[in-house]
């Protein structure tokens, strides 16, 4: 008893030291190990459900490196981001399209990639229409397919698609072209749900998904058969996170080369780091305040919500500039019309009919419309004489940029000042989805919604927010307008860009005046990359709903 403690203590100390050594001593090793193996390490807040593009759109980020679009809008803008088709043309009837596939294109398993694969992908979707397992829920969905009359491979390099009416949709859609030899035996039911498309995948993109650990990472290897040659890096790892903290830390410590989904605070902090370059990328996302305009089942607490004058007056109480400054710290564009600035072809600030932030004006308009505070309690009453008490729900739908609660606070604050008290309920994405589906499916019952939507920059998607076909899906305000719907279907049938622009502008003005939505802002994604391991990052917009960051053009920095 008396002799023991000393020797025992010594043993314990030695053990502690011994066990601590590998941790502390190699701490530098873990920080700098990433350069040597030429693997690009990227990270984002994402949670792919599965890698099956028919079952989900959540796997967009890993899949976009592995599969090509047939054309896609980026391919129209950037010559180095072409898709499955090298060139395309439309006949004079504006109905028959010819797509020329890259000659000698190969799948990553070495098999030839031909027009038949593209035809298979489209026909697979077409064939499901009207079936119980219609493929209408994923990245590749039947949404829009109804315009197609036929799809056929003329030969290995030629794909012919005939549409029922003229449309630009064929070169704007973002369907991933899949290898027929992998998918041909998959049933619709499986494609819709249980088939997981587990790696290793077979694709035509630059980086092929080799390994996928749910909720952890996706590992890519370079595609040997990529149409412009095997990428120079040794591969890529996409780390999946649920919060931004580890992402910023990883960048700082050097264990990540590129990161997306940073918060403004981290972005500021990282911008001070000499090894790191920060950037912000405008996106196709639109953040909006939506009114529940439905009058039947699922209606809101007051009829005022169905009154365009009321909604228009509220529009004067929303200061988009302050929202951008306060809630997004400048990393967004102030909201205006349906079209977002990145959709440069269609974007318009609508300056002639633009509402200017003016609480007094908003009050005057409400007074004029009969929404007065008659009993002097500071709260306005609607035309039925009931005091306003609006329920605002908010949250972030899956796969969009998070809605900062500060934006909601601002909106609620301004409404409060107008004499319209608002109670805010923040919902997780599941609950938010459940409450905003079509009233027929059990949605509705709320008054105001602050949320965001991230669709593509195609005119069809730009106008989706007001489409009666998209009620409870993209159209969260349940608003319908026959004229708007007519314009939308006309846009779908228009190939000419100029005409298309006009139609979109008309539709955008209709919905702006009717004001089922008040656009708050178009947020940007914040990103950053390290300079030390790779070069060739470029300065172009890195992220887009319709393409991938061109990691394939990165080259390892020569190790000093």
């Amino acid at each position: 008893m008396n002799k023991w403690p000393f020797s025992r203590r010594a043993v314990v100390k030695a053990m502690l030291l011994g066990s601590a050594a590998p941790w502390v001593m190699s701490s530098k090793v873990f920080a700098s190990s990433s350069c040597d193996d030429h693997i690009v390490r990227i990270a984002a807040i994402a949670a792919p459900d599965s890698l099956n593009p028919f079952a989900t759109s959540s796997s967009f980020w890993p899949l976009i490196f592995t599969y090509d679009f047939l054309v896609g809008s980026d391919a129209q803008l950037y010559s180095d981001r072409k898709g499955f088709a090298k060139t395309w043309s439309v006949a004079d009837d504006n109905l028959t399209w010819i797509f020329k596939i890259w000659p000698g294109l190969k799948w990553s398993d070495g098999r030839p990639a031909t027009a038949r694969d593209a035809a298979f992908t489209y026909n697979f979707l077409l064939g499901s229409i009207g079936k119980p397992d219609e493929l209408n829920i994923g990245q590749n969905s039947t949404n829009g397919m109804e315009q197609i009359a036929s799809v056929a491979a003329i030969d290995d390099e030629t794909l012919q698609i005939v549409t029922k009416a003229p449309t630009r949709w064929l070169i704007d859609n973002s369907f991933l072209i899949l290898p027929e030899h992998i998918w041909k035996d998959i049933s619709y039911a499986d494609a819709r749900s249980t088939f997981r498309n587990d790696p290793p995948l077979v694709g035509t993109g630059p980086m092929i998904v080799r390994e996928y650990q749910q909720g952890q990472f996706v590992r890519f290897t370079p595609n040997e058969y990529f149409r412009t040659g095997k990428p120079a890096t040794a591969g890529m790892i996409l780390n999946l996170f649920s919060t931004a903290d580890p992402i910023a830390q990883g960048l700082k410590s050097g264990s990540l080369d590129y990161a997306l989904s940073l918060t403004a605070a981290q972005w500021d902090d990282l911008s001070k780091d000499p090894d790191i370059v920060v950037g912000q990328v405008p996106t196709e996302q639109r953040n909006y305040l939506a009114f529940n305009t439905v009058s039947g089942q699922g209606k809101g607490s007051t009829k005022a919500l169905q009154d365009p004058v009321f909604r228009d007056a509220i529009g004067f109480a929303i200061d988009q500039k302050t929202i951008v400054d306060r809630a997004f710290r400048g990393h967004a564009d102030p909201g205006a019309g349906l079209a977002m600035p990145v959709a440069a072809d269609y974007y318009s600030y609508l300056s002639d009919i633009m509402r200017r932030f003016d609480l007094a004006e908003a009050g005057r308009r409400l007074d004029a419309a009969g929404y007065r505070d008659t009993n002097g309690d500071g709260v306005r009453e609607d035309k039925e004489g009931n005091s306003f008490q609006l329920e605002l729900i908010t949250g972030t739908f899956a796969t969009v940029i998070e809605m900062p609660i500060a934006a909601v606070q601002l909106v609620a604050g301004w409404l409060e000042k107008l004499g319209i008290p608002v109670s805010v309920t923040q919902l997780d994405s599941g609950a938010l989805t459940a409450r905003t589906v079509a009233p027929a499916d059990g949605g509705g019952g709320w008054d105001l919604l602050v949320a965001g939507s991230w669709l593509s920059r195609s005119p069809h998607d730009i106008l989706a927010l007001g489409s009666s076909k998209q009620i409870g899906v993209s159209n969260s305000s349940y608003w319908t307008n026959d004229k708007f719907d007519g314009l939308l279907s006309e846009v779908d049938r228009t190939v000419d860009l100029k005409k298309s622009r006009e139609l979109v502008d008309q539709a955008a003005r209709i919905i702006y005046v009717e004001a089922p939505y008040i656009m708050l802002c178009y947020p940007s994604v914040l990103e950053a990359h390290r300079k030390d391991c790779f070069k060739g990052w470029g300065t172009d917009a890195a992220v887009s709903q319709v393409s991938y960051f061109p990691f394939d053009r990165l080259k390892p920095e020569p190790t000093p």
């Binding site: 919060t243 990883g250 990540l256």
Partner: protein, 329 residues
């Protein structure tokens, strides 16, 4: 006579455990069915798509939701659960819930059992010693520190550890279970894993240590006042002999119970810590499933948690019966 009594004791414990587990299963069954909204529409994938009535009907049939809640659905549910079939995840399309859980379980078990082990060794020893030498310096320091740790939410400890050791000092990684793409040489991998494990394990262990010190100390404080300790002293035993031969085992009785009960929380215990460290365990899965309304996964996790705690309770009761001969009566 003794054997009968003992087996009856154990039998009663077993019956209790089964009843509790059944109650968990029943709650589990209803949980899925009382949620607002039609499960069928949830099944149709986030429901941000239009669904035809036929599709809904097909889904309902597919999942047996068109049949009466009781007994058909309940019986199906129970028999499937007994077979270990928890159905398919809504969110992770096509993944079996059982597979998802099995995939995530090891990370949690490694994290929590390592933390438990450290906490038991440090906390119990420290607590017992503090209780044995009450009022001494070790007692004062250990008690103060353990109360402090006991009062601190472990996820906050986790955040502070990250700020200190990861952000400021850069010594240890503060997230995930591995460095992205660490070379596949096995030793590197293991070391890398251990480095990633260090902070989460510390965060979980620190919270547990506080608890163990408090309980072990209280148990020992009770034991030293017992009459049989006077007997031991009267027998001329030395302090060490009294501690090891008489005090230790009696003081361990409540401690063992706490430890076994805590083992049941292996799965549940680290949800927040896992969230902070982005640790790829059951905790992370629970939060993801919660956000996505993935009720089959939640059901599975819930049943797993319930079962593990019932099991731990069972083991605790049995262990108590073995350690303390009095309980068997």
């Amino acid at each position: 006579m003794n054997g009968g009594r003992t087996s009856r004791h154990f039998g009663r414990i077993l019956v209790r455990a089964i009843i509790t587990l059944l109650m968990v299963a029943v709650l589990n069954f209803f949980l899925f069915r009382v949620i607002p909204g039609d499960p069928a529409s949830l099944l149709l994938g986030g429901a941000r798509i239009s669904v035809t009535a036929e599709q809904m009907k097909a889904q309902r049939q597919n999942w047996g939701l068109d049949r009466p809640l009781f007994p058909d659905q309940a019986v199906d549910y129970l028999s499937a659960t007994l077979r270990g079939d928890f159905g398919y995840s809504f969110k992770f399309r096509g993944r079996r819930v059982a597979d998802l859980i099995v995939e995530r379980l090891p990370a949690t078990i490694v994290l929590v059992s390592l933390a438990q082990f450290i906490a038991i060794v440090c906390g119990v020893m420290l607590g017992l010693y503090a209780g044995w030498r009450r009022g001494g310096a070790v007692d004062h320091i250990a008690t103060g520190a353990s109360l402090l740790l006991y009062s601190t939410p472990s996820f906050w400890v986790a955040m502070i550890l990250i700020v200190i050791f990861s952000t400021a000092l850069g010594w240890l990684p503060g997230y995930g279970a591995y460095s992205p793409g660490v070379s596949t040489r096995s030793l590197d991998q293991v070391l890398d894993y251990l480095r990633h494990l260090t902070l989460p394990v510390s965060a979980v262990a620190l919270g547990l240590i506080g608890q163990y010190v408090v309980v072990a100390r209280a148990a020992m404080s009770d034991v030293v006042t017992e009459d049989y300790m006077v007997t031991a002293r009267a027998k001329g035993l030395t302090g060490g002999q009294m501690l090891m031969r008489h005090a230790f085992r009696n003081a361990m009785l409540p401690v063992v119970t706490l430890i076994t009960l805590n083992l049941g929380y292996v799965v549940a215990g680290a949800i927040t810590v896992e969230a902070v460290f982005a640790w790829p365990g059951i905790g992370g899965l629970t939060v993801e499933a919660l956000n996505a309304r993935d009720y089959p996964v939640l059901q599975g996790v819930f049943l797993l948690l319930g079962a593990s705690i019932v099991l731990a309770n069972l083991v605790a009761d049995l262990a108590y019966g073995i350690l303390d001969p009095r309980v068997r009566q």
